[in-house]
Symmetry: C3
Subunit: 415 residues, 3 copies
């Protein structure tokens, strides 16, 4: 790039989309992998991805192959998915079950704790104890799994965990199973995927399915452009939110907004919000898609608890199911979006839930979003593109995503 990264960061115009190189330049992309994805807590999945001891899941965080497994004691661990002999990728991408981790190349064998158990022909001077798998920091927040590739992960994760566990606990993620998991490759830089997630300004025009359960007044609006009838509706929506919060918190369900998206390494935000009509779920009829509710819940009408994390995830927890979203960069202009639908582990497919109904809203919404990310990437490639203004009423969280990103890049450049 002709401009240096520090100068690009310094001259950023607040309240406006980022300059072209942030979305298109390979050097910025490599810096993103190094300073964002290798130094922060990255959402990678949930405990039900590896339900049993010996279950293993392999994925890439940027160029780093990582494996997540459940060990013999039932704990979840993460390791670099790289044999310590000649560097072969140990476990193939995807999921499987193993006794030990055996490299196919020269049969070096590691225990589920990462210890090197066997390496033939290495001679007397070889120290097996120095050649265990390299561990990757892993934390579970009420069943949501985050890893950090850095040796010294950000410590403010504890704070997020402390805040979020009471919100998430009633949905009992550890007691769920994966009903569906779908990978989608978006043709855009990972930041466009995230920015697209951080506003619903586009929802009215682009997401006919999602706007059935979601209230339009929850997306933000410019009050100056509204007539009295609209203002009255907006006021009623605010009252509905306040009333719902009060009711749910009385039921023991933390619901009020917590917004710590910026000014810290581990940015996050959460709030439980009412849904329209039946008010139960992100479905085309707004009713629960699964008869067996999550955990010990008995009331299906709990709205949706949303949980957003910087830099790469968002989640919606309803009474009957949860949906999690994990965005992982594949290249400067390609991003993997993995969506996971979770239901109670005792729910029976075809009896308690119809997976087509369960996934209909977000499958459609994801396809629509992928299309939007692609046209965004196509346009920002233009030399004529210049950062445009965010709506102060509907794109505040996009601005907060950009602020957090630039803060963390600046921190990374300081070393």
């Amino acid at each position: 790039m002709s401009d240096t990264l520090p100068s690009l960061i310094l001259r950023r115009r607040p309240g406006h989309s980022l300059e072209r190189p942030f979305y298109t330049d390979d050097a910025v992309y490599r810096a993103d992998l190094d300073m964002i994805f290798a130094r922060h807590w990255i959402f990678v999945g949930q405990e039900p991805d590896v339900p049993q001891p010996g279950d293993v899941m392999a994925l890439h965080i940027g160029e780093a192959p990582v494996l997540i497994l459940r060990d013999d004691d039932g704990g979840v661990r993460a390791f670099h998915n790289v044999c310590r002999h000649r560097g072969a990728q140990l476990v193939p991408e995807g999921k499987g079950g193993v006794g030990n981790l055996v490299c196919r190349y020269h049969t070096w064998t590691y225990g589920l704790d990462g210890k090197l158990l066997f390496a033939d022909h290495m001679g007397d001077g070889f120290e097996a104890a120095c050649h265990g798998l390299k561990p990757v920091a892993l934390r579970s927040v009420a069943g949501l799994l985050f890893v950090c590739l850095a040796d010294d992960p950000p410590t403010d994760f504890d704070d997020m965990a402390a805040v979020m566990e009471p919100y998430l606990r009633p949905h009992a993620l550890a007691e769920t199973k994966i009903a569906r998991q779908i990978d989608l490759v978006e043709q855009g830089n990972w930041k466009l995927t995230m920015e697209n997630n951080r506003e619903c300004y586009h929802c009215a025009g682009c997401h006919p399915e999602l706007t059935v359960p979601l209230f339009a007044y929850g997306f933000g609006f410019a009050p100056g452009q509204m007539d009295e009838a609209e203002l009255a509706q907006a006021t009623r929506y605010d009252e509905l939110v306040r009333g719902s919060h009060a009711r749910w918190e009385q039921q023991g369900l933390p619901s009020r907004l917590v917004d710590r998206l910026t000014g810290r390494a581990t940015g996050f935000r959460t709030e439980r919000l009412p849904l329209d009509q039946a008010g139960e779920s992100h479905t085309t009829d707004t009713r629960a898609a699964c008869r067996r509710l999550l955990g010990q819940l008995t009331d299906a009408k709990l709205g949706g608890l949303s949980f957003w994390t910087q830099p790469n995830s968002w989640h919606h927890f309803m009474g009957d199911h949860a949906v999690t979203f994990c965005a992982l960069p594949l290249d400067t202009d390609r991003t993997l979006l993995r969506t996971t639908w979770l239901v109670h582990k005792d729910a029976v497919e075809g009896v308690d839930y119809d997976p087509t109904n369960l996934t209909a809203v977000w499958e459609a919404t994801n396809r629509q979003d992928a299309d939007l990310v692609a046209i965004a990437q196509a346009g920002v490639r233009s030399p004529a593109y210049e950062p445009g203004p965010y709506s102060p009423h509907t794109e505040g969280l996009v601005e907060q995503f950009c602020e957090w990103y630039l803060e963390r890049m600046a921190a990374g450049l300081r070393g």
Copy 2:
């Protein structure tokens, strides 16, 4: 590249093909986009591409998405195809019809004059007047459309327009319609596509269809290698050209050679040349492919008026139809060639013309040329490739293309 662009330009050996980095180096390619395609008049199509108000055509000039449209007053305009909000590509690649230009992302809406008409939720401080589409300079020469991405387009375009309009006017391009338009991706640098167009040294061996209407003696030849019979034929060809020019100019059709390919930003060349046999058209039987002649023409035997422009187009106007060629760089080693066949707008397909017959010669010739460009690209990638000599008798226009290119790159480097 290990050599700098200025040193590559300075050490170029006249009369020889360019050095390897000009065809293979990504940094030279980016410089080509910046100094050639973003600063000169680029042929992009013709008025019949957008015949009606609201018709829009989107294409890329290098990395810049551009849209061409016909506005409500019947004028043709060009804009950067990039929403001023968050940069989404506004109109999809290809052709369509619109009332206004509505961005699919957040429904920002622009008029056909580029003005921002609607942007929801932007609040009170937002100035719509500052967020219209960015215009791109556009000029029509007797219906041929050229755009320039620069803020200060080369002014010698006027001169080309003044020369060319009398030549082109009798063919009444504005009164034509598109009979066929075919895109072909050539596997070579755009300069190899252009160099291939600028000589017919290869025609005898490679283009069996094209050499039916074209006279071999029009391709140039080395007189020292010819016997007396051949020299006599060459002399007869010269006489035919002179006689034809005299006859056509008497009919009010400017025909004589104008060659201003070098020494200026807007290089061009034109000449009307006789065709062999029936002498009417670029068809396999040399007869008109369309019964309805262009404009008010009544004589089909008008040979072919050729018009070449630097850096990216060539055109042939016959009595019955016209063919235009637009070359656009896609990557260091890939080039889009768009070929358009135009007939009188009242001509009826299947009655006045058979599109297979109309396009047969150039469809075959384009395929053959794409193959030649591919082997040229494959060979110049070799570290052992060194620039070879152009034939002084048949490759003079290739040399003029290279001269123009190097002049303009040098001018670009001067700033």
Copy 3:
């Protein structure tokens, strides 16, 4: 790359695999093409690839298209496959037969000796004698063809030729024909393909077919890890090798180890080794796959004469057939492996040999190796990969490959 090539070379830890950039960095790859593949003797095929005058074979050494042909006098020659006019690739990739070499572009015509015989329209000043094809140095060692792109090829090739000709002569490669030739693209850096070839530590676990004819004790082993029974077997294997060598050398077949892999430009190694069971060939039943033996051989039980060259080949010569392997880099992370099975030229397919039986062991082994190279490439891309230790007992030749490579890169950097 953030580290310079010299610093990467200097800090290499002996006995360990190479650092990540050697396998993944595009700049190192280009240096490999320049300093290894353009300056050393590269194995490209064998005389039976071009059996008759006018036979021509075109391939790429890195970015350099090269053609190998048999001239009218029966000699084998190599040229850069690039027309001296405008650089078109002269002969398409693959094999064919020609009278002269005619460029399709403008019909420039070269003799099989590379002389320019015809170039139309070039005018009086043109000197055809200065525009012959650029020759490439070519040497045949008992029918194995090596080319060197450098102007001053390493002279220690003579020494390799002198050593190897007595070993290879009894297999009479010039009297063979190609029974099968298969190209396979491995998804890894060329050095991973070579390193994989230079050890059989992985054979026990990965190559069920190859380990039928090969003795496990020939792969190396850590004596400290073996019990008495195993040590006794290893001793018996050593005795078998010594006894076989004595017998074969008495038959006039040089067999003893020559190891000159490092400390020289043209590194190589050879040894004839006994095979298990019937001991005749690399087949699934260890018996000769071709009834007609090579050359004048009458004894099928000759084990396998292996011949390894730096940087890109290995070969196995049995009594009944030979297999040659040529590795050519396609990109930083892609390598072409061409495998050729050769039998006596008078052997009749379907009568003397069944090609499925002939190729079964190495077709399976190549597929398995391609998979191993792919997982090696996938793992070394990880930022967490660090060079691991080679087994001193089984990976000595891998270490010698790396030593040679680094010696030659250092020599290249010195100029």
